[in-house]
C-alpha cells in the first residue's frame, strides 16, 4: 500500500472523511452565474494580498523593534543588512497600498452590479467592515517605521479622532496613550497592527466568505427573481473561474515585485517631534479626506469636517438598507449608479486636488501654482515673448 493511501486510510478509519470530501468537491465545482467575468476576481486578489501581508508581516516582525529609540534603525537594518529584508519590506508596503486599491475595486464591482441587495446585505456589511479595517491597518502600520511622515500623519490622524463629538478628547488620549504622540502611541499601534487587527480581519473574512458561499453569487436579475442555475449551466468555479483568478494573481505578484524594485518606499528622516515637515501629505487613500478637511473653517469647522469625512463610510455600511429597490442591472438603477459615480468622482477630484495642492504644475506650456485649497493661479514671473519690453 502506497504512503498516501495509508495516510488516507488512517483518517478514513477515524473520521467521516467522505462528508468532508463531498463538501470540498461541491464547493470547488460550484457553478457560478454566467455573467461572472474578469471583474469578479478582485475579492480573491484581496484575499491573496491579505495572505501575503500576513507572511511578510511575520517576517518583518522578526527584526522590527517597536520603540522610538530602535524602530527607525531596525527598519534600516532590515533594508540594508537582512537577507532579502528590503524585498519583504517593499512587498509589505506596496501590498498594503494595493490591498486597499483591490478592496475598493471589489466594492465598486459589487456596488454597480447591485450584488449587495437582499439576501446579501450582510455580506456587503462585513465587506465594508473589512474595507474600514484595511484602512485602519494601513494607518497603524504607517507609524511603525517611526519616521517624520509617519509621526506627523499619526499626529493629524489621531487629532482628527479628537474632533469626534462628545468622546473626542477621551478618544484622542486613549489612542495616543497620552497627550501627544510618543513611544506609548507606537506600542499601542504596534499591538493593534500585529495582533488585534489580523485576528479580527481573519474572522471577518471567514464570515464574509461563508456568507458569500451560502447565498451564492448574485445574478443581474431583480431581487426575488433570481433563478437557480440549471444543472450543466453556469461557469464552474474550478477550473474556469479559478484559472482567471490565477492569471490575475500571478500578474499581481509580478506587479508587486516590479513596484518594489522600480519604485521602492523611502524610509525618509527619523521622527522629530519638534519639526513638522513642510508639504506633508498623506497616502493616496487619505488624500480626499485630507483635502476636504481644509475647506471647513471656524470654531466647529474641524468637527463638521470629521463628520463629513466619516459620512461616506456610514452611508456605505448601511447602503443595502437605504437602497431597497429590486433592480440589480445598472441600467435600471439610474439613481444608485448616479450616486455611486458622483461619490467616486468626488473622491477622485478631491484626491487629485489634494495631491497637487501647494505645488506648481505645468499645463499646456503654462505654469500654475495650485494653492492649498486647490485653486490654480497663473504664474507670470517667467518672461515670455508676449511681454511688453520694460524701459
Amino acid at each position: 500500500m502506497g504512503l498516501s493511501r495509508r495516510i488516507n486510510s488512517f483518517f478514513d478509519d477515524r473520521f467521516d472523511t467522505e462528508t468532508a470530501r463531498r463538501f470540498i468537491d461541491k464547493q470547488a465545482h460550484k457553478r457560478l452565474p454566467p455573467h461572472i467575468s474578469w471583474f469578479h476576481v478582485f475579492g480573491s486578489l484581496a484575499l491573496l494580498l491579505f495572505v501575503s501581508q500576513t507572511i511578510t508581516g511575520i517576517l518583518l516582525l522578526i527584526y522590527y523593534r517597536p520603540t522610538p529609540e530602535a524602530a527607525y534603525s531596525s527598519i534600516q537594518y532590515i533594508t540594508t543588512e537582512v537577507h532579502f529584508g528590503w524585498l519583504y519590506r517593499q512587498i509589505h508596503a506596496w501590498g498594503a497600498t494595493l490591498m486597499i486599491l483591490v478592496v475598493v475595486l471589489h466594492m465598486v464591482r459589487t456596488y454597480f452590479s447591485g450584488a449587495y441587495k437582499k439576501p446579501r446585505e450582510l455580506t456587503w456589511v462585513t465587506g465594508v467592515l473589512i474595507f474600514i479595517l484595511t484602512i485602519i491597518f494601513g494607518f497603524t502600520g504607517y507609524l511603525l517605521p517611526w519616521n517624520q511622515i509617519a509621526f506627523w500623519a499619526t499626529t493629524i490622524g489621531t487629532e482628527s479622532a479628537g474632533k469626534v463629538p462628545f468622546i473626542g478628547e477621551w478618544l484622542l488620549y486613549f489612542l495616543r496613550g497620552g497627550e501627544v504622540v510618543t513611544g506609548e502611541t507606537l506600542s499601542r499601534f504596534f499591538v493593534v497592527h500585529v495582533i488585534i487587527l489580523p485576528w479580527i480581519l481573519t474572522g471577518l473574512i471567514a464570515v464574509h466568505l461563508v456568507l458569500m458561499r451560502l447565498s451564492n453569487l448574485a445574478t443581474l436579475e431583480p431581487v426575488g427573481e433570481e433563478k437557480p442555475i440549471p444543472p450543466g449551466h453556469g461557469i464552474p468555479f474550478f477550473p474556469v473561474h479559478v484559472a482567471k483568478e490565477a492569471v490575475v494573481a500571478i500578474l499581481l505578484l509580478a506587479g508587486l515585485v516590479t513596484l518594489s524594485i522600480l519604485s521602492p518606499w523611502e524610509i525618509g528622516e527619523p521622527a522629530n517631534p519638534l519639526v513638522t515637515p513642510a508639504h506633508i501629505k498623506p497616502e493616496w487613500y487619505f488624500l480626499p479626506s485630507y483635502q476636504l478637511l481644509k475647506y471647513f473653517e471656524g470654531p466647529y469647522g474641524a468637527v463638521v469636517g470629521i463628520v463629513a469625512c466619516s459620512l461616506p463610510f456610514g452611508l456605505l455600511l448601511f447602503w443595502p438598507f437605504l437602497d431597497r429597490g429590486k433592480e440589480r442591472h445598472p441600467r435600471k438603477r439610474p439613481w444608485a449608479v448616479g450616486i455611486g459615480l458622483f461619490g467616486l468622482m468626488a473622491a477622485l477630484f478631491l484626491g487629485i486636488l489634494g495631491h497637487f495642492s501647494g505645488t506648481d504644475v505645468t499645463l499646456l506650456g503654462r505654469r500654475y501654482h495650485i494653492d492649498l485649497l486647490g485653486r490654480p493661479e497663473r504664474l507670470m514671473d517667467e518672461p515670455t515673448s508676449h511681454n511688453p519690453v520694460e524701459h
Binding site: 493629524i156 497627550e179 517631534p273 519639526v275 513638522t276 481644509k294
Partner: protein, 153 residues
C-alpha cells in the same frame, strides 16, 4: 411527567420554578464575574500618567536670538514656539488648533503658518485664515538673571 421548559410550570404561567430561578442566578453571576474581569482590563488600557518633561523650560540660547527669530522648546512634553520681537519674548503653543501639526514662524510676514492644512495665525496667535478653530494658547515667559523660561500660562 413532561419536562419543564424555560423554567416555567406550563405555557402561560409566569410562576418561576426553582430551576428557572437558578438559571437566572447563574446568568447573573456569570455576567457579574465577566464585568469584574473586564473592568480592570479596560482600566489597564487607559494611559497611566507618565512625566512628560519639566513644566518650566529654559529657552537655550535665547540671548543669541535676533528680533524676529523663533525657537521651538518642549514644555511638559508639548511643543512651544518662542518668538523674539523688539519688545522682548513671547511664547505660544506650537500645536496647531486644527489637527495638531506644529506651526512655523514666518519672519517676513510676521505670522504663524501650519504646513499641514494651511492655517495662518497672526503674531499674537489669533486666527487669520485657514481651518484653525481657535487661537494658539499663549505661554508665560519669565526672565531670571538673563535666562528666559517658558511655562504654561
Amino acid at each position: 411527567m413532561k419536562p419543564q421548559v424555560d423554567g416555567f410550570d406550563k405555557v402561560g404561567s409566569a410562576r418561576p420554578t426553582r430551576r428557572g430561578f437558578l438559571d437566572w442566578l447563574i446568568s447573573l453571576c456569570s455576567l457579574l464575574a465577566g464585568l469584574a474581569m473586564t473592568i480592570p482590563g479596560l482600566m489597564y488600557l487607559w494611559p497611566a500618567a507618565r512625566g512628560g518633561g519639566s513644566d518650566n523650560m529654559e529657552v537655550e540660547g535665547a540671548d543669541r536670538m535676533a528680533p524676529g527669530q523663533s525657537r521651538m522648546v518642549q514644555v511638559g512634553g508639548k511643543a512651544v514656539i518662542v518668538i523674539r520681537d523688539r519688545k522682548g519674548f513671547r511664547a505660544y503653543s506650537a500645536i496647531c488648533t486644527h489637527l495638531g501639526c506644529l506651526v512655523t514662524w514666518e519672519q517676513a510676514k510676521e505670522q504663524f503658518f501650519c504646513p499641514c492644512h494651511a492655517a495662518v495665525f497672526d503674531a499674537q496667535g489669533r486666527v487669520v485664515s485657514g481651518p484653525a478653530p481657535a487661537p494658539l494658547p499663549a505661554y508665560k515667559i519669565k526672565e531670571v538673571g538673563g535666562r528666559i523660561y517658558v511655562s504654561p500660562a
